[in-house]
């Protein structure tokens, strides 16, 4: 273990760490620093897998995973508001059974940085190369973990980060180079795979209907409209956010002539990340919507419209 990376205390935590924690930077090339936080397994560190965790975005810090998902601590909101939270041990931390690296990637995300801002213009391929470089250098810093089974895990846009990184890892093996990483497999949660399928086609509408968020009548109407568009294999649906907490589904029968739409659907007050949960921040009042122009511009687009407000927010009676 290199010097100066052991985490000895954390503000907000009263009590002992459940296992060793290490964190710091790896300079993957000149003036390009990636930040990691490494949590050693609470079970059998020498045998348990090493898992690299990546949040998505692109641009999301993996500290979201550490703080809000499966890190070693639960964070109790600070009181008064804005003060430091109190940390408690998380009984469902993934470090219960694995050694886990939270990596801020690509450079420019979270604590990772470069003094040269041009290095923040980056894409999938360079991210995969950089993360691979990080891993090789990381295992040189932590050689006692090099023989552990290694997995990559993440969610959302990490559905792109993970397969591209994994392919870079196995490419070395295919090239006949002695494997530097004992790679075994990967996990992807709610991951992006094919943008056309994930965002632009009828799977979203199937989901909305299956979850009871749109009526049978509207669903059937959409199907008919789709057929009328002469595009039976692939319906061109678009989901876009026209304002915070407001989602617009538009069907474009012929994208070439830029003539939306047979269809628009507005879902107000919806938490699209978890459809039955409220949004953390409350929806803005309609008056604000009108001021920014989004709401007033809507009717010209809309022929059929259904509004499904969340009842908990008291919007049902105020809806139009």
């Amino acid at each position: 273990i290199p010097e100066g990376v052991l985490v000895t205390h954390l503000p907000g935590l009263n009590g002992a760490f459940p296992s060793k924690h290490y964190s710091g930077y790896v300079e993957i090339e000149s003036d390009k620093y990636l930040f990691y936080y490494f949590v050693v397994s609470e079970r059998k560190p020498k045998n348990d897998p090493v898992v690299l965790w990546l949040n998505g975005g692109p641009g999301c810090s993996s500290f979201d995973g550490f703080v809000n998902e499966h890190g070693p601590f639960n964070f109790e909101t600070g009181k008064p508001h804005g003060s430091l939270p109190t940390l408690h041990l998380n009984p469902y931390s993934w470090s219960k059974v694995s050694n886990i690296i939270y990596l801020d990637s690509p450079v420019g995300v979270g604590f990772s940085y470069s003094k040269d801002q041009t290095k923040y213009v980056i894409g999938d391929r360079q991210t995969a190369i950089d993360t691979y470089t990080f891993l090789v250098m990381w295992f040189e810093l932590y050689p006692e973990f090099v023989n552990n089974p290694f997995y990559i895990a993440g969610e959302s846009y990490a559905g792109v980060y993970i397969p591209t990184l994994a392919t870079n890892i196995i490419q070395r093996i295919n090239d006949g180079v002695e494997p530097e990483i004992n790679f075994k497999g990967y996990m992807v949660g709610n991951g992006l795979t094919v943008p056309d399928i994930a965002f632009n086609t009828d799977v979203q509408v199937l989901f909305l209907h299956g979850m009871g968020l749109i009526s049978d009548n509207l669903f059937e109407d959409i199907q008919v409209t789709c057929m009328m568009g002469n595009d039976t294999d692939k319906c061109n649906y678009y989901l876009s956010k026209v304002a915070k907490n407001r989602i617009l589904v538009t069907h474009v029968p012929n994208p070439a002539d830029c003539q939306p739409s047979h269809f628009s659907l507005i879902i107000d007050g919806m938490n699209k990340f978890n459809i039955l949960e409220p949004c953390y921040h409350p929806p803005k009042p309609k008056a604000d919507m009108k001021e920014n122009g989004n709401w007033t511009s809507m009717p010209s687009l809309v022929r059929n419209q259904t509004v499904v407000p969340n009842d908990f927010a008291g919007l049902w009676t105020n809806s139009e």
């Binding site: 954390l10 923040y120 894409g123 799977v203 989901f207």
Partner: protein, 150 residues
Amino acid sequence: GVDDCLNDEVATTWLNNELVRQAIHAEPVDMIGPWVIISENILHNYQKDAGSMIPYHTKLTTAGYRALIFSGDHDMVVPFTGTQRWIKSLGYEIVDEWRQWTVNEQVAGILQEYDHELTFLTIKGAGHRVPNSKPKEALHFYTRWLDREP
């Protein structure tokens, strides 16, 4: 930027405290700026240049690497309907048909296993960030998959 539906306040408060940054060996705010949950600079300039991931999944799984694809079934951002569709498009043989999986005798979701050690698993009632909304169930499937338990 940060979606209104997400809670980033606790993380933002904690990770921008200088004592916390010192403790975790992160550079100070005046050197690299404040920590934000999503970097808009990256988000808006990022080049999505890798194309579809389906050829990557095919290459990896046919080369013998294990894959667990999981979906919180209440997520509308990347809904399980799309994930189910692309997995089906791989054309792999099903070796374990749709069945429920349970935690403490409660149904926690459904799963289907395919040839080439590919598993598709849903988590009932979970959102986009599965371990955030269903932490117990998430640790359960994570552990069993890593340990090669059924």
